[in-house]
């Protein structure tokens, strides 16, 4: 991709149904590859966006297909930033972040890995909770490919 001095934004809105996540996956992966992230980095971005989308559909909207999940991809010279917004009540971030799903006592738990996966694969993960919940996922480009 040619060097960009300005950021570009791509907007996507999906109904709260898990089957739409495959489209989100393809777009997230395609954008990351287009930005010259490595395949492993692009997989990490796509896996993280999927987790944020899954949380929005499952926990934010409780599978109500009438409620839209909004996803904004912000492409800039130094980073890809993805905002995943739902209209739910949010969650207790401090409580969730205290849990380490790789702790031997938690390793066989069947839930509770989504945010951990995002934080492991992205450079920055933040949440804005107020008017709904927005996960903000950032992956920085290496200087060599900016």
């Amino acid at each position: 991709m040619a060097e960009e001095s300005r950021s570009s934004r791509i907007f996507l809105t999906i109904p709260s149904r898990l089957e739409w996540l495959d489209l989100v996956d393809k777009i997230a992966s395609g954008i990351a590859i287009q930005m010259a992230f490595s395949q492993e980095e692009a997989d990490g971005v796509a896996n993280s966006v999927l987790e944020a989308g899954t949380n929005a559909i499952q926990h934010g909207h409780r599978y109500d297909p009438e409620l839209p999940v909004e996803i904004i991809f912000e492409i800039s010279a130094d980073a890809l930033r993805v905002r995943v917004h739902d209209e739910g009540r949010g969650f207790d971030a401090d409580r969730v972040l205290r849990v380490d799903p790789t702790d031997p006592q938690c390793l066989l738990a069947q839930r509770g890995r989504g945010i951990f996966i995002m934080r492991s694969l992205m450079d920055e993960v933040a949440f804005e909770i107020g008017h709904g919940c927005t996960a903000i996922l950032t992956k920085y480009r290496s200087k060599a490919i900016r």
């Binding site: 996540l21 896996n47 987790e51 066989l108 069947q110 890995r113 989504g114 492991s120």
Partner: protein, 113 residues
Amino acid sequence: MKASMRTEGDAAVIALSGQLMGGPDAEAVRQLIRENLEAGRRKIVIDIGDISWVNSTGLGILIASHLTVTNAGGCLKLSRVSHRISQIFMVTKLHTVFETYDSVEQALRGFVG
């Protein structure tokens, strides 16, 4: 997600394709695991080579399958785990839980007895 099943001697091979992401996927996999255990097959391979991605809910399905089979005295193995899914297994340390093999045949040979 689509699922199919075949037997290889006293073992079962459950082949999954598409995306593993919870919802109805969980019941489909649970049903196949249950059917095999009820039929006395306790050596089970889940082939995920045609799964394009797994989210954390899909991981829960694999963990539930592992627990169900091991609690019944059986053994569950995974075959053809992609680089992308391996990435998730590594960060979550689930690579220490699941036995993984490059092919179904290798997984079947890995069963003892």
